[in-house]
């Protein structure tokens, strides 16, 4: 074993040899994996806050396809191209784009391996890989099954496939959506999807019905959704809760059948929103725990399992904050500021974060849920008295106004991240 003296000599020699690694003044190297709402925001923000940093964003897709507003694509209210954003803006902001996948992380050697085998060294790593489908968690549902019963929970080809299936369906067909247990990406998303598909069915296939099979007894903005369904789509949407036997235990893609403990539901169009987990690279890096998600501390979102690695967005366990694009963007800005402080040898201050999820029940009928969060006893906790859902009783154009605010939010956030 090296004595303390030789150890000190060795580190001194090492830092002379590679001064850029150890000297905060020289900038530092931050690698960000995942160019979605969390990662692209973090990369831009890091570079903007500390131009001396070398910030590399690792993302294999040349174009990002955003999930928020992708339910409008299903209802033919938008085209998939309106969901797509390139990385020119990110690169113009001084971020180096590595257009490839990260295949491995060496947390002790502080390197990220890319798909061509090359290694990127980092002083701090930010992971925002989003979700992976937990294939195998729902018997019968695998990659091949998703071509028959699309999840459309990662926007893109899957969204287009589900839209095509809806358009090809005969009037009078049964659309079935299965919704997973918590936690999962975008808690109000399945119910916004049901609403907008119902909106479309009512116009184009008015004899059709929509069934939601749920693995939960309660869901986000539930009373707002259910009141709106009764008002806008009476008799069209049926929601079967967990205790009513709604939990799907397996699917049969060859017959588009959803199996529960009590019944078999054969669909004309079947949308499986499957169980999920943190993106595979998070598992590989050793920052995910047995739940499949990544525990982090609530100030800089540094992994509690692997120091030097920060996890933001859907992959992370963020206390009371839901998995949303709004939250990923807010976490990214806080994380970037904290990483700059840590690299400069300073302690980041306790943050406050906001989340707001808008949902459309119809194109001109918006509802929202908000929360304000701060670190408390080691987790991000709701600030009591703040947040909550839109009021149940409203007058005048309130819902229409929230629908307009929803699309303004989407334009704002996508400009901030990719513009």
């Amino acid at each position: 074993m090296a004595t303390r003296r030789t150890f000190l000599k060795l580190t001194a020699a090492a830092s002379l040899a590679v001064p850029s690694i150890t000297s905060a003044q020289a900038g530092g190297r931050v690698v960000v994996v995942g160019g979605g709402f969390g990662g692209a925001t973090a990369a831009r923000m890091l570079k903007a806050l500390e131009p001396k940093l070398t910030v590399t964003l690792v993302e294999p897709n040349p174009v990002f396809t955003a999930c928020p507003f992708s339910n409008n694509v299903l209802a033919a209210l938008r085209e998939i191209t309106q969901q797509q954003f390139g990385y020119d803006g990110v690169q113009k902001a001084g971020v180096v784009l590595a257009q490839t996948a990260a295949t491995a992380v060496d947390a002790s050697g502080k390197t990220v391996t890319l798909s061509d085998g090359s290694k990127l060294p980092y002083d701090r790593l930010v992971l925002s890989p989003g979700i992976d489908i937990n294939w195998g968690a729902l018997p019968g549902y695998d990659e091949a099954a998703a071509e028959k019963m699309p999840h459309a929970w990662k926007a893109g080809a899957q969204t287009v496939l589900l839209r095509q299936q809806l358009q090809a369906m005969d009037d009078g067909g049964l659309v079935v959506i299965s919704s997973p247990a918590n936690p999962f990406r975008c808690p109000p998303g399945p119910y916004e999807r049901a609403s907008l598909i119902a909106y479309w069915l009512k116009i184009w296939k008015p004899r059709s019905k929509l069934l939601i099979l749920d693995s939960k007894d309660a869901f986000s903005k539930q009373r707002l959704f259910q009141n709106a369904w009764a008002q806008l789509y009476p008799g069209l949407i049926e929601w079967v809760s967990l205790s009513q036997g709604g939990k799907v235990t397996s699917v049969d893609p060859s017959t588009l059948t959803f199996v529960t403990d009590f019944a078999r539901h054969k669909a004309a169009v079947g949308n499986v929103i499957p169980p999920q987990k943190a993106g595979a690279i998070a598992q590989q890096a050793g920052v995910a725990d047995r739940t499949g998600w990544c525990p982090v501390e609530p100030v800089a979102f540094e992994s509690t399992l692997r120091p030097g690695i920060h996890v933001i967005g859907d992959s992370a366990i963020m206390g009371g904050m839901p998995k949303s694009a709004f939250a990923a963007n807010a976490q990214a800005k806080v994380c970037a500021a904290a990483v700059v402080e840590l690299l400069a040898g300073r302690k980041p201050v306790d943050p406050i974060l906001i989340n707001t999820c808008y949902s459309l029940v119809a194109p001109d009928y918006g509802i929202s849920v908000a929360g304000v969060y701060r670190p408390d006893k080691g987790v991000l906790a709701d600030i009591p008295g703040a947040g909550g859902a839109s009021p149940l009783e409203v007058v005048g154009g309130f819902r229409g106004q929230e629908a307009l605010y929803a699309s303004s939010w989407f334009k704002t956030i996508t400009t901030e991240v990719f513009g």
């Binding site: 923000m45 903007a48 800005k333 906001i354 703040a386 909550g388 839109s390 106004q401 400009t415 901030e416």
Partner: protein, 103 residues
């Protein structure tokens, strides 16, 4: 967009200002909560956004709005629910930060 025509160095300074609403104030010095406001109230101008712009507004106006949203004295769709998460001191700091940005 005009800043495409600028020299890179100048453009990146402006980009910093526009992304973070920087101006003379560094975003690193953004008080707690402020970086979440920009998810809806961007620093850059967003064509056809109906969410009001607050960058460059008088600090006292922002403070008054926030307090009245919080108490419910001024009606809102979402700001009442958000403002309830902030105390007077935090509102003052956020208002000063937005006021220091280019309008």
């Amino acid at each position: 967009m005009t800043h495409r025509l600028l020299l890179p160095a100048l453009a990146s300074v402006l980009l910093l200002a526009s992304f973070l609403g920087g101006g003379p104030v560094r975003a690193a010095d953004a008080p707690p909560g402020a970086s979440s406001c920009t998810g809806c109230h961007a620093s850059q101008r967003i064509p056809d956004s109906v969410i009001p712009r607050i960058a460059g507004r008088k600090a006292s106006d922002i403070v008054q709005f926030m307090r009245e949203y919080r108490s419910g004295a001024w009606p809102s769709s979402v700001m009442g629910r958000i403002a309830k998460g902030f105390d007077d001191q935090q509102i003052d700091a956020i208002a000063a930060w937005f006021a220091a940005q280019p309008e």
